[in-house]
């Protein structure tokens, strides 16, 4: 067997078997009981050469429509954003992408420092004191936040707004079942969390309250009002945020959030059919020793030189085992690096400017659709998404859009039955005026 990834020659093999003191490689597998020993080869597709595999994979990829060759108005948690070209150049440096978790700090200062910078940038955007080095994604980050609140308050009920991403709510419920925590949904009203319903449900039994800002419908939740209600009962205030939006919005940390979690996908991370993205997790100082996952801290070496290490590891599974704050081990380090590079490239002015472009273009789109006679529901302060009632069935409309090179927005009816044939339209900075006008034209009354 000759293969470009396998350097062992026949001669190497013979010398090594001799040194081990066995005649054949099979002798090394004699400890596998005969009855379970697998003989022969797997019944899987045969190996392909590099060039023919590339050809096959190119064909397979071409069976998918992609958001780069269409005008995409699809968001609902995953967005088509400007990714500075430099991002891919940095994360393609194999010193980063072929490294393991930086457990040996002397030869991992690059990764450790990059993560320390990531933590700092997430703190800056969210207005929180401490951020970890990443979670799998926004949904599981939020579920971990819910579990943290239950552990910290020793209460067993979580309130989640129905205007939180439906898939995040599903993940929260799955995690909650594991730890015998009850999840109660607070309905939405006019596109935001129903404040009266929240007031009725809050009690000293509630561990945490989860809202999304901007919420699943794109609306800006009134965090100030919600915070007061949550904290009257000493529940924890957990906010799920699109970190790009925080370039222009008042950060949850300034509005009393105890935990801010979400997904950094808008910062330089491709949609990739839903993953890998990059969860982030930020807390107040009070909760620093309860944070799940890895934390990088600054320290000094024997010569007093600044350096970085994984720290407060007593929280983690490899030290605490069954008493750990979470079972998370692998995180999303490389995507955290991508997000760091994107946040660095955008910088202080760019992140705000990009967020504002989203607000402005979505605002323009809303007006353009209304001008065509379409009904924008839940209309109010929003970031880069809004809800439009379609003039015909979603499938009909979406098929027509696709024929015009447009990937339409998300069908809310799939998760909110009462919103059948309502489209969640996402307008990022990448959508041009022409593309927005074309969407309005296609959706507009001209086609009724």
């Amino acid at each position: 067997m000759k293969h470009r990834y396998l350097p062992m020659t026949d001669q190497d093999k013979q010398e090594m078997l001799d040194a081990i003191g066995v005649a054949t490689v099979d002798e090394l597998f004699q400890d596998i009981p005969e009855s379970v020993r697998y003989k022969g080869e797997y019944n899987i597709k045969p190996a392909k050469s590099e060039s023919s595999l590339l050809k096959e994979m190119t064909k397979l990829a071409a069976k998918n429509a992609d958001v780069k060759s269409h005008a995409s108005f699809l968001g609902a948690g995953v967005y088509d954003h400007y990714a500075p070209v430099i991002v891919d150049h940095v994360i393609s440096r194999s010193e980063f992408y072929t490294a393991y978790t930086p457990y040996q700090p002397e030869i991992s200062q690059g990764e450790l420092q990059a993560i320390f910078e990531f933590q700092t940038m997430i703190c800056e955007l969210t207005g929180m004191d401490v951020a970890n080095s990443s979670m799998y994604d926004g949904g599981t980050a939020l579920a971990e936040a819910a579990m943290l609140s239950a552990g910290q308050t020793r209460r067993k009920k979580i309130l989640v707004s129905a205007a939180v991403h439906p898939e995040s709510r599903d993940v929260i419920k799955a995690y909650a079942k594991g730890q015998y925590v009850e999840v109660i949904e607070i309905p939405y009203k006019d596109g935001i969390t129903d404040i009266e319903a929240l007031k009725e449900s809050i009690s000293d039994q509630i561990a945490g309250v989860i809202v999304q800002y901007p919420n699943f419908f794109g609306r800006i939740e009134p965090l100030k009002e919600i915070e007061e209600i949550v904290h009257t009962q000493k529940a924890m205030f957990i906010v799920s945020s699109n970190p790009l939006a925080l370039g222009a919005l008042t950060p949850p940390g300034k509005l009393g959030a105890d935990i801010v979690a979400g997904d950094a996908q808008p910062f330089g991370i491709p949609a990739a059919f839903g993953g890998p993205h990059c969860g982030y997790f930020a807390v107040t100082n009070k909760l620093v020793r309860k944070v799940p996952g890895r934390l990088v801290g600054q320290t000094v070496d024997e010569n007093g030189q600044r350096g970085f290490v994984l720290t407060l590891q007593a929280r983690e599974q490899h030290i605490r085992r069954d008493k750990a704050t979470s079972n998370i081990c692998s995180n999303q380090a490389l995507n955290a690096l991508a997000a760091s590079v994107a946040m660095t490239a955008l910088g202080k002015t760019g992140v705000r400017e990009m967020a504002v472009q989203n607000i402005q273009k979505a605002h323009y789109a809303k007006k353009a659709l209304k001008a065509k006679g379409l009904d924008v529901i839940f209309d109010g302060p929003s970031f880069n998404e809004f809800v439009v009632k379609l003039p015909a069935s979603y499938t009909q409309v979406n098929d027509r859009l696709f024929k015009s090179g447009i990937i339409g927005g998300f069908h809310l009816g799939t998760v909110y039955p009462e919103l059948k044939d309502h489209m969640l339209v996402a307008v990022t900075e990448l959508r041009t005026k022409d593309e927005i006008d074309a969407l309005a034209e296609e959706l507009g009354d001209g086609h009724e």
Partner: protein, 485 residues
Amino acid sequence: MNKQDQPLIFEISTPGRIGFSLPEMDVEAVAMEDILPSEYIREEAAALPEVSELDIMRHYTALSHRNHGVDSGFYPLGSCTMKYNPKINENVARMNGFAHVHPYQDERTVQGALELMYDLQEHLIEITGMDQVTLQPAAGAHGEWTGLMMIRAYHEANSDTDRTKVIVPDSAHGTNPASATVAGFETVTVKSDENGLVDLEDLKRVVGDDTAALMLTNPNTLGLFEENILEMAEIVHNAGGKLYYDGANLNAVLSKARPGDMGFDVVHLNLHKTFTGPHGGGGPGSGPVGVKSDLIPFLPKPLVTEKDGHYFLDYDRPQSIGRVKPYYGNFGINVRAYTYIRSMGPDGLKAVTENAVINANYMMRRLAPYFDLPYDRHCKHEFVLSGRRQKKLGVRTLDIAKRLLDFGYHPPTIYFPLNVEECMMIEPTETESKETLDAFVDAMIQIAKETEETPEVVQEAPHTTVIKRLDETLAARKPVLRYQA
């Protein structure tokens, strides 16, 4: 390597510089106050860096020089399978039709993505000997938790609700007991015997009516195959429990033994280990879970399914444990793993394991005269040494690890598993050449000699890295977790 302190990106920031090029603003701007209530308009800008594009590239290039990856040099980190990460994987994962596909696109427009996922599931079913596979879990630990939640749902569906305990060996990865806890179970530890294998008598003692599952890595974390696996399966199954396979060490048994044939009911795989998704400095990974038929109803939803050549997402799974992750898993890593499997084929995967096992045994034999070998038998893809002989001379395993840095190597996993004193766990993988293994062994022998002759050289190591040993106590006592101007 550059020995000077590398400034933080914030420290080279200069007001007025930019590193971005945003799209043209081609719509008429409205005053922000007309769109948002003033209390929700951010007053103070987030203090992100202000740097040029070249500043950014130099900064991260400098950081990359201060980082060791598989492409930099040998990385025999036990249990982590630090094999070569093929470059074709990176190219394929970046194709527009894979990288830039939205999870909510119409199914008809993502047939290629679904086909790839389906075919990967089929390949993993054959490789593991299980009946069905989900690609949803994001990483190994996430897969463990998913598998345990399914086992819990299975017992609950049988009204067998007193099964509150999960048994793990004392040599298990830390994620096993942690995952058991977050899945709502209590952990019970089963001891290893003098051969480094699960003690069958102790297993019989701890197993019972309250056993939900036994979690096992095979070969175990000592690199030894649990040769009593069938007896163990029988003990656990007779008690009504399920057998869980931690696939962290699958690289040792490709084409040699399948978890499904060994009696395992649930398996998770680490596609970022055995199947070359790069480790990425700690992630992202991918942790698919395979199950036997009686657990299929409990798989997370949706599941990729095929009918008449059309691929679709099946949400109609009433007994499912639900959703463990938004969307459909770490697709980008799954694309890489699929590309790898298709690059290797059945004969290639068989050679992977054979070469990985030869490499490990060869190194073990060469090192055995110089270090204590706690379990003197053929290992699988990795082996453990004990540094207790060196410890008596005042040199600890930590010192040996640090000294290896001076030779340009990433050290082995140290102080794990917990049941071996001054443990060093070495996993060479199949992608390393004999010359590399020999050079590493020579370095280890030199360190063993230094330990006897000039121990201070080892005790004070590393000598050549950009930074010396760091004060970890200070880091934990007075945590500085972010930059502050």
